[in-house]
Symmetry: C2
Subunit: 319 residues, 2 copies
Amino acid sequence: MTAQTDQRSANSPARPDGRTLISIDAMGGDEGPAAVVAGCSLSAKINPDIAFVLHGDTAELDPLVAKWADLKGRCETRHATEVVSMEDKPSQVVRTGKNTSMWSAIESVRAGEAAVAVSCGNTGALMAMSMIRLRKLPGVIRPAIAVLYPSANPQGFNVLLDVGADIRADGEDLMRFALMGVSYARNGMDIAHPRVGLLNVGTEEHKGRAELHEAYEMIRAREDEAGYVFVGFVEGGDISGDSVDVIVTDGFTGNVAIKTGEGTASLIGQRLREAFKYSPLSRLASLLAYTSLQRLRQKIDPRRVTGGVFIGLNGTVVK
Amino acid sequence: MTAQTDQRSANSPARPDGRTLISIDAMGGDEGPAAVVAGCSLSAKINPDIAFVLHGDTAELDPLVAKWADLKGRCETRHATEVVSMEDKPSQVVRTGKNTSMWSAIESVRAGEAAVAVSCGNTGALMAMSMIRLRKLPGVIRPAIAVLYPSANPQGFNVLLDVGADIRADGEDLMRFALMGVSYARNGMDIAHPRVGLLNVGTEEHKGRAELHEAYEMIRAREDEAGYVFVGFVEGGDISGDSVDVIVTDGFTGNVAIKTGEGTASLIGQRLREAFKYSPLSRLASLLAYTSLQRLRQKIDPRRVTGGVFIGLNGTVVK
């Protein structure tokens, strides 16, 4: 069994054991392969219907896999000699990265054996490789990157898409983003009838962007058929609010929005630390507040904002 | 002397006393006329080169003005029978608002007697009235709304513009926004050579938006002549960062960005309060941390994000 087959399958892979195969770039990410393998073991324990194929240095991976009982018989490893670093340029990696664990992980999806590829590595490289190797799903005009943005909703996050590209989206693209986002919210957050909002500047006075009004009509038209609730136009503040579950926008606006939110969150974190260092009393307060602040960090972790799912490709890729 | 003259002046007004006249809508805002007059008195004390004309109910305003020694001989009042409420619709106010204090305040700028109009009232109404009554400056294709966004810079804020409209901006609009933003940073924040960044999705791969690349060249070309430093493309995270002083973008993106940032800041505030209410120990910590948190609130006050300066009009209007 090799990853580099040329056979393409647009359908979900069927495996003899009935399990869904997840292809993992085990070398990507800051925490190293041991953390990745530990994560796989945890997932395997929780979900009996999944199996893994891990890509990377097998000499390093095999002993790690052997340590976890939950992975026994459900995790194979596949050798890749190279690793995409966080500094590698996407444009270069797509040309020279054939021997990397990331490439190999994507190839498992391309070959139809795995349902999804997961990497914690270089986002730009992952997107570029995914686009080039997997291509788009039939019917998808433009793939999108969706993020889970911290929100006031019970599920703690909203789906925001697209956040990945600078190309403008027309009405139909936005409508398709809505459908993809609904599917993500339904499968990923267990919301049967997600509430969908279309990002705009909000007031009735602003009617300049024709594609938003086109998208408005198109998204409303498919509301019943696709089983979501369309709440209409929403504003930037609703991305972290509780009035919608899915926020649809073009990749440029979405990208600026998450980075602005992330930057604002870091600035607040920085100012908060400064505020607590200000006087002996505030230092004492910060000691007592330590667990409260840790709890807060868990709820609003900017790193969760940076992760994205590539959807609309001929195969699923998760960052 | 009446405010409702039809004479227009595009130049700064010259007054016999040499002072710059500031026209104030004294009835706008949540805090009422007493707070507005107190604010004028404070400004008058700090800056001997300014004088005020206050618009509103003179029966209420005159006794308030008389209370402050700093306003003696430097503050006249002008009667306006009506007030624009926060609930009034902009489209209606521009038709029926002729007798409001806001209209009267703008008329002083239109007539050329005041250099700037200030109102804490209804933003939409203020923008609509300003556009209709003041019109655009010669050379300005599109007026912009600029905000001071909390940042990691020493001055504590960055200038972000445009944040007000949904109409797309072309390369030349963006270049003019850059010049307006530089002027604002120089005059408002005392930065002799502001650093200017053009908002983009950041990576070299993204080259889709032609107007951004047009604007890039145009902004770079005027760097020396206009006395700013162009740092090139910046990302959403730089809006609250310390790498630039002025961030230029179209009104749609800017509006989404500030509202996303504001929403994220409120969510964090809300979560922070929850975190501190979690246990008796965290409640004690919150008591001790009270002054630290107040200090934080002063530095990152979302209300400062919502205020904007209307620039590029035939007269300056401040919200």
